[in-house]
């Protein structure tokens, strides 16, 4: 599927990507991707490595020459395969934060940030004012005169950010900017980045393979795999209603339940699957259609474990605990259910011992029918 028909951009489009194809040698990295980004919107391209998200971003930047399609920024065509237009990156009026930060080691912090302003021939007083403002926003003011080669990873990250937004580009691109930081710093920067984005209001496209990062900072997320778009939607939508098995699995952990459709048992807005072992599972279709075989996705956090039989009528089964893994914020249980293994995550003060038989239940609203 291509995303163009699946949504309508909420605001005037700042970036439009139409049927983008990128090939290197014999490999097709991006195969016909379409989407648009509204003015001031924060869009994230999410996917595993090799899914084409970085290539798509670099094609928007002009650092990669696509093989086909059309890219428009603020209404201007910057790439068009038919008219053979390819505007070089430096004349696209955008800016980018690189995964490696790409801080120039032979310059000071100030010179790094001032670079884009000097390119634009701004006056020295104006440059000093803007660099001061940008370094203030990323809390690096006191290090302005330091050599860039003497910065920590987190500091380089901040300088790279300041350098990218200081000249007020119309579009800001982020290529996995946090992936080289350690986990704690990454979590902090995520919050700071979100605040900064909201303050600046610049249209941004963000690439990451980290789900939490994508959920935290985006207005909208595009999930990609093998060069195509799997799903486009708001963070909550992507999380709650994954379109297919890939998205369900990639966007947080999910149990996939396969079975034969039993339409004659449908009712109350629910549909029913029968697993190969004859267990009935109720779920919701959300207007999606399926064949005679279908798959439900049930998130590990939506499954419930109880010693007493729950009062609910549907989706209550017996299961036994195979193993238990304590992970701090939550405990993960591996259960034997219906002749297979399911995974459940919960916060509990009353751990269940391995080998215990008990009741497994799940609200049918949390069993989502997937498209095949």
């Amino acid at each position: 599927m291509t995303g163009a028909s699946a949504f309508s951009a909420p605001r005037a489009a700042s970036i439009e990507v139409n049927d983008l194809v990128v090939q290197y040698g014999g490999v097709t990295a991006v195969r016909g991707v379409s989407f648009s980004v509204g003015t001031g919107e924060h869009l994230t391209l999410l996917g595993p490595s090799g899914c084409g998200k970085t290539t798509t971003l670099r094609a928007i930047a002009g650092l990669e020459k696509p093989t086909g399609g059309l890219i428009r920024i603020d209404g201007t065509i910057v790439y068009d395969s038919r008219s053979r237009t390819q505007v070089p990156p430096e004349r696209r009026g955008l800016s980018m934060v690189f995964q490696s930060y790409a801080i120039w080691p032979h310059m000071t912090v100030f010179d790094n940030v001032a670079y884009g302003l000097r390119v634009r021939r701004e006056s020295e007083s104006e440059i000093a004012r803007k660099v001061g403002w940008a370094l203030g926003l990323v809390q690096m003011s006191e290090l302005a005169s330091r050599s860039a080669s003497k910065l920590s990873g987190g500091q380089q990250q901040r300088v790279a950010l300041a350098r990218a937004f200081v000249f007020s580009p119309s579009v800001l691109l982020f290529d996995e900017p946090l992936s080289n930081l350690d986990a704690k710093l990454r979590a902090e920067m995520r919050v700071e980045l979100k605040e900064l984005q909201r303050q600046l209001g610049i249209t941004s496209v963000y690439v990451t393979h980290d789900l939490e990062e994508a959920l935290a900072i985006s207005d909208r997320i595009i999930v990609m795999r093998d060069g195509i778009i799997e799903q486009i939607g708001a963070p909550a939508e992507i999380y709650e209603l994954p379109r297919n098995a890939f998205v369900a699995d990639f966007v947080g952990s999910a149990n996939l339940i396969r079975g034969r459709r039993r339409p004659e048992l449908d009712g109350d807005g629910l549909i029913v699957l029968e697993t190969p072992r004859g267990t009935f599972v109720h779920g919701v279709a959300h207007g999606r259609r399926s064949g005679s075989e279908a798959v439900f996705s049930a998130r590990t956090v939506h499954l419930q474990l109880s010693r007493e039989r729950p009062s609910a009528q549907r989706n209550v089964w017996t299961a036994s605990v195979r193993s238990r893994v304590f992970q701090g914020d939550f405990t993960q249980y591996h259960l034997d259910w219906d002749g297979r293994r399911v995974v459940l995550r919960c916060v509990t003060t009353d751990p269940v011992a391995e080998g215990t038989d008990l009741f497994l239940s799940v609200d049918p609203r949390h069993c989502i029918l997937l498209e095949e």
């Binding site: 990156p89 430096e90 690189f98 490696s100 790409a102 120039w104 032979h106 010179d111 884009g116």
Partner: protein, 565 residues
């Protein structure tokens, strides 16, 4: 000119790579074509273009099988010795806690700068059977004959190995240093002893690197010229390169035979370099992970003083002894092992400096050196960028062509050029221009490897981020690429300067009677005038190089200092 900028971003890739590729092919292959043509000429040897073609010259080579045998003997012995030297030094300086390790590592480059020619001149003074200093002492002690004879194949191999040992050390040392010590530690933790670890882990991991170095060094030995010329020629002991030189410079010259020898040598060397590249590119260097690790030195206890002594002895034999010997000889009227007050003189230096031939040759060499360094850095910098950064189609093929001169002995290459440029419509034969072209061509691999080594370390995104900041191609080059590339460009300029001032194999065939350069002049002096004056000339050349380097370095440093410093 926004249009111009846009054009450069997509400069019609096919056109650019065609033009550059075409020029590269021309400069590199044009002489080779002439070399092969000459080797197939079976008519009148002086006629050009050849009257008839055939393989007779190659069949004829069977008569010179002893020359090929000599070449193999010298090369194999010298390679074995150089590799053992390189391995031992590499192990000591990357694995043992020898005192002054870092300083020693820097010093290990020195033998390379002594050059085989200076080594051969000095060792001839030390170890020639009749007049060698060491043998004079030997007889003064009442013994008969001589202690060592440096003019034998083993003597020649010894001189070559002392020089090439430094190259082997750099190659093998790099492999040893790039090996993660954790690989050895893992073996020890799992219960293997130090010896077992060495045999089962260290050796297999380092072996491909050592093998690669051995093949590379062997190829260099096959094409080497100066040691065999200085030490072998008086005895009529020939290797392929010196035999070729003899064929070309005798009267009447025997060009077709020389060409056939050159082609054979070139074929073998080409195979060697190809094998070397296969070994390196197949990623046998599993040890190179790109992961950062702490270099770890093993505590070898009291043994470290013995290991230190090994390094110092090598430096003494390969550097200090030759230089001191030349200095000592150059200060005597008649070079002898036993100093006498009335025998000392400065006359050799005075004579050398007063001779117009020597002065103009030295001046020519310095001019050529500066020109080669200056033009070379621009040309090779651009070519490196073209190969490794431009992402033009065919960049890999261009790289292959430009690295080609590495597989051709400089003497053989010069032979091809000799023929090629004799028929060239612009009369540059016998002028410094021809030498400039020759130097720029034969040093392509040296310059490109030096510059691209630094270029590949510069993360591509450093340039891309300048681009997304809005900087045009020229602005980017000036503010980001060039300053970051500065160390590579300076290093390349210095290396090109040194290499061209001291070049012998190509210069000896290509220089004209009115445009001489210094290294061949030194060789001529060795064979036709006095030993003492030759020693003085060799030292004057070295001094000139050192002074010029200091000057160049100061200029380069000032000219390219970044604004922020």
């Amino acid at each position: 000119m926004p249009a111009g900028r846009a054009r450069f971003w997509r400069p019609g890739p096919a056109v650019v790579s065609l033009v550059v590729g075409g020029a590269a092919v021309l400069v590199v292959f044009y002489p080779i074509v002439y070399l092969i043509q000459a080797s197939l000429s079976v008519g009148d040897p002086q006629a050009r273009p050849p009257e008839a073609y055939g393989l007779a010259n190659f069949v004829d080579l069977a008569r010179y099988s002893h020359i090929f045998w000599n070449t193999i003997l010298v090369s194999v012995v010298a390679t074995l010795f150089a590799i053992v030297l390189g391995f031992v030094l590499g192990w000591i300086l990357s694995r043992a806690n020898v005192p002054g390790r870092e300083a020693l590592e820097q010093l290990m480059a020195l033998p390379y700068y002594v050059t085989p020619l200076m080594g051969a001149l000095a060792w001839s003074l030390i170890g020639s059977p009749s007049g060698g200093f060491l043998n004079q002492v030997w007889r003064a002690l009442g013994r008969e004959g001589h202690l060592i004879d440096i003019t034998t194949p083993y003597g020649i191999a010894w001189v070559m190995a002392l020089f090439e040992g430094s190259v082997a050390f750099v190659m093998i040392g790099a492999v040893m240093k790039s090996m993660d010590p954790a690989l050895e530690e893992a073996s020890q933790v799992l219960g293997a002893g130090r010896l077992r670890t060495m045999l089962k882990i260290t050796l297999p991991l380092v072996l491909p690197g050592v093998l690669g170095a051995a093949i590379f060094v062997f190829a260099e030995m096959l094409g080497s010229f100066s040691a065999a010329l200085v030490l072998g020629l008086p005895n009529r002991f020939y290797v392929v390169t010196t035999a070729m030189y003899q064929f070309v410079s005798q009267y009447p010259p025997r060009f077709p035979q020389a060409a056939a020898m050159g082609v054979s040598l070139f074929a073998v060397m080409f195979a060697m370099v190809w094998i070397y590249r296969r070994i390196v590119s197949r990623g046998s260097y599993v040890t190179i992970t790109g992961k950062a690790f702490r270099p770890r030195a093993m505590d070898v206890g009291g043994l470290r003083w013995a290991l230190l002594a090994v390094c110092l002895v090598y430096l003494f034999i390969a550097v200090l002894l030759p230089v001191l010997t030349l200095l000592y000889a150059s200060l005597q009227r008649l070079a002898t092992a036993f100093p006498r007050a009335d025998n000392f003189t400065m006359a050799n230096y005075a004579t050398a400096l007063s001779l117009d031939a020597v002065r103009s040759a030295l001046a020519n060499s310095l001019i050529l050196g500066v020109a080669t360094a200056g033009l070379g850095v621009l040309l090779m910098g651009f070519l490196s960028w073209l190969i490794y950064r431009s992402r033009l189609p065919g960049a890999g093929a261009i790289e292959y062509v430009l690295m080609f001169p590495q597989a051709v002995p400089r003497l053989v290459f010069a032979f091809g050029m000799l023929w090629a440029w004799l028929v060239f419509p612009i009369p540059i034969y016998g002028t410094l221009w021809l030498l400039l072209i020759a130097y720029l061509t034969v040093f392509l691999p040296l310059g490109i490897r030096t510059i691209s080594g630094v270029m590949l370390q510069i993360d591509r995104t450093l340039e891309e981020s300048a681009q997304t900041c809005g900087a045009s191609w020229g602005y980017r080059l000036r503010t980001v690429t060039m300053p970051l590339l500065r160390p590579g460009l300076i290093a390349a300029a210095l290396l090109l300067f040194i290499a061209s001032v001291r070049e012998l194999g190509a210069s000896i065939l290509l220089m004209g009677p009115k445009a001489k350069v210094i290294t061949p002049a030194i060789v001529e002096s060795w064979f036709s005038t006095s030993t003492e004056q030759t020693a003085a000339m060799a030292l004057l050349q070295t001094l000139a190089v050192v002074l010029a380097l200091i000057l160049l370095f100061a200029v380069a440093k000032r000219a390219t200092r970044p604004a922020g410093e």
